[in-house]
Symmetry: D2
Subunit: 275 residues, 4 copies
């Protein structure tokens, strides 16, 4: 018997739908969350947010507290970044999501964001998971770099066990021997998690591939395998991005994809129903 309980379909057969503002994750229509890796300045964020909103993007992402491998890399704008992100979301009329990396920032992040992201490096930061379980905010829980499915689901179990059911899982690629791509996007995990758990699942092909030209093919694949939505890194000038430039889409590419998606959405769901 698997060691997780509350996250499994045995305990709750129906799909959980997580609502963030007017954005439903896990419902009939796949949702797209988009934005830059890091909040860089207010003008860029507001302009980009408005443009994304017009394309049909449903939630705005942007990092304020960035977990960076090197202490010498850009660490994000912190509290200023939170304020800018919230303002951009307000102007564009979209809920916003940002990562919390430290339990001491949680209440501040909750003041500005509508959804909290737990990043890969903190998937087993159990103190943070428990606190996030108590605040009752919707949570996006990214899979750790080398977390097994069981470990990932048990991390979600920590949040649910504290009483917070509003959890969305996010597959963002795992670590492997391949060097051509930044990570291995684990498409098996998308299909498996949708079988095992009632929780919604979002795919992050930006981190999952690390290469701009692969993001959209893998995005399509994730939706075809059953993902409930996508999180995509977008930057108005990827070549000048302060972080994750090589995997960021220019807005024009995303616009074309959003049109493709709006045309295909209903078809996707009905074709899955027939399987």
């Amino acid at each position: 018997m698997p060691p997780y309980k509350l996250v499994s379909r045995e305990s709750k057969p129906d799909n959980t739908v997580v609502q963030v503002g007017d954005c439903l994750i896990g419902g009939k229509t796949p949702v797209v969350i988009a934005g830059p890796c890091a909040v860089e300045n207010e003008e860029m964020m507001v302009n980009l947010a408005c443009r994304l909103k017009r394309m049909g993007v449903r939630m705005l992402r942007g990092g304020a507290y960035k977990p960076r491998t090197s202490p010498y890399s850009f660490q994000g704008l912190g509290a200023d970044g939170l304020r800018i992100l919230a303002e951009a979301g307000r102007v564009a009329g979209m809920p916003v999501i940002t990562e919390v990396t430290d339990v001491r920032h949680l209440s501040e992040v909750c003041r500005y964001a509508h959804m909290i992201q737990i990043g890969s490096r903190n998937m087993q930061n159990f103190g943070l998971l428990k606190e996030v379980g108590r605040v009752g905010y919707p949570v996006l829980l990214k899979r750790g770099f080398s977390a097994t499915l069981e470990e990932w689901l048990l991390a979600a179990e920590y949040i649910l066990a504290e009483g917070n059911q509003q959890v969305v899982l996010c597959e963002r690629g795992i670590r492997g021997f391949e060097t051509y791509t930044r990570n291995i996007f684990d498409i098996n995990a998308v299909a498996a998690v949708k079988n095992i758990s009632h929780l919604p699942l979002i795919a992050d092909p930006s981190h999952g591939t690390g290469r701009r030209e692969l993001v959209l093919p893998v995005a399509r694949a994730a939706l075809a395998a059953g993902a409930d939505g996508l999180m995509l890194e977008v930057h108005p000038a990827p070549e000048h991005a302060l972080s994750d430039g090589p995997q960021s889409l220019p807005p024009g590419d995303l616009a074309v994809f959003m049109e493709e998606l709006s045309g295909a959405g209903a078809g996707r769901r009905s074709s899955r129903a027939s399987a």
Copy 2:
């Protein structure tokens, strides 16, 4: 500069289409190759082949010389298996593909099969690759368990360098730390190979997942990412299969999927063209 030449789009920008009988791999329509892991007996093979043909399957697979991890496992029917496979293909009116594991079997396999499969364990059996490059038969080259994209493409380069252009690549999952699935189906590799190379690519979600319930979601994903077709293990009674039962589909499940596919095929290709 990448170390491969003949397999790259720089050397040949247009997609290569590999023809096996009346089956075109790499053309406008995705193809499905299906059959049991191993040829077990003639009656089963002929019945199954006819049933698969009626569903729209375009090529019959079946192992005669099976590379098995243990010397004590069923090793396949050998020459008898080849004969049965050829007969089943003839009755059903489909070309057949089977694996060659030993350079000494090559001429015998060529007598019976229309396409030769190089399995993952032999991806870097360079003597075999060179011989296969010389016989001028269409070849399906599976990716090794832990081969990088570059190693895989260089293995194909060995075949092309001998003068045989009729090579189809097959992504079948790579090895990782996850134990829930048999392998990690590398969806990034599907998208990447289609960018880098003009060769057609087939996805094998049966080995790529190792679990029946994940085969079709991952099959859909592979096509969405740009795969030119699928290779699927099917068995009339998976619970009694002599090998690979847990990942084999019953024919009824495949029939439903084939209908879904025939309805969606044109749409898939046009949606890709717009991206």
Copy 3:
């Protein structure tokens, strides 16, 4: 040029020696840190500590706040565990080390422990790394499950960049495809880190192998590759341990090994010097 600075031998050619009580890590003699995975009760801890001290163990380990994959597993005794650990160390006359998993526990842990352990799951908990860098306590930094050498050294760099030079690295095995062992103990990393960095390195073959019968052979290997010491899980009755029983040594096995080590220690160092 590598992205780390303060941890590298370029910035400091001589070996750093970290002193914890009278225990010198990185000096001429390899040190052994030992104790149970988790503090379970006071009698056991005091008895075991005295026994370990007599064998030549130089520091006592024991988990009070345990990071556990499942929320339903034993989570450690918390503050009571800290108190018991400190008492056992005091009675036996040894400094003690324990893990801190949450930045909010740091000052409490510093009250009881002489050295702070950052576990694998928190190797990139950058807020915690920075705080640990500020408290000025000796730190043992375990390598993350799938951290590259560069990521591990950069995590140490976070601590040094805050002004704390008292950092010891701990190789504890990485994640791979092998299922026979719990992890892959990365012996290459032991040799490489000693080349790249001036920081001391401790090997943890208990987690590195996950199997009792492999712990001592791999411990010998780590010392032969240049490790400055060992951290070993020991339990008076491994079959009844609340966690990590299968990889815990019974005290008798450790006693034999400690004798072997005291006989070989000088020889080891001189043989290394001649290489």
Copy 4:
């Protein structure tokens, strides 16, 4: 119950000792096999062989048929390489080992070599394993890039099942996410195989690390974990080697190590006996 039989200590509790000329592998003294990655020319081979012999090296290695990832890389001298290798061994008074990559070369290789090497890429080339099992020559079986212990032992089982007991296992590193080293030398596997199997085990830290400065520390580690010997790549001018230069030792470094080893050998064995 494990699926292997003949290779396990259950079927044969005592260590197997494989004799090649006057070189005993698996006996009381660890043996060193050394030589260049590839045979390049006769003068170099004869000079190097004589120098290695004087240091205490017991067997000469050198590749004639080289399995190379790219068809455009140097493929070895083939039959000429075999002849040169045999001549160098004859002059120096050492048995020689070389790799066979193709079943059709087996009888030719047996004419020149005293021990046959099966390389990592051919670990599951079952036709080759069976033939090697029938010729009755001593065999060195390298572990595949991503072979589990079970798969490796079952590959050896193929050879023993044909009646050839003269099998030596060779750990040469496995594939992982780390890019600093070429492979992850699996020290756990060294200890585990010596527990599970009666077959001798040789370590190849040249391929296991891929970096010259790590070869000898990892060599020491492998012996400390129980390996019965080492296979080391040596080249008189590593910077000009046609293959594997960065991991080849210059002869002077090996000479120092061989002296260290001859002093420590007896001690190593007796310390193991006490554990």
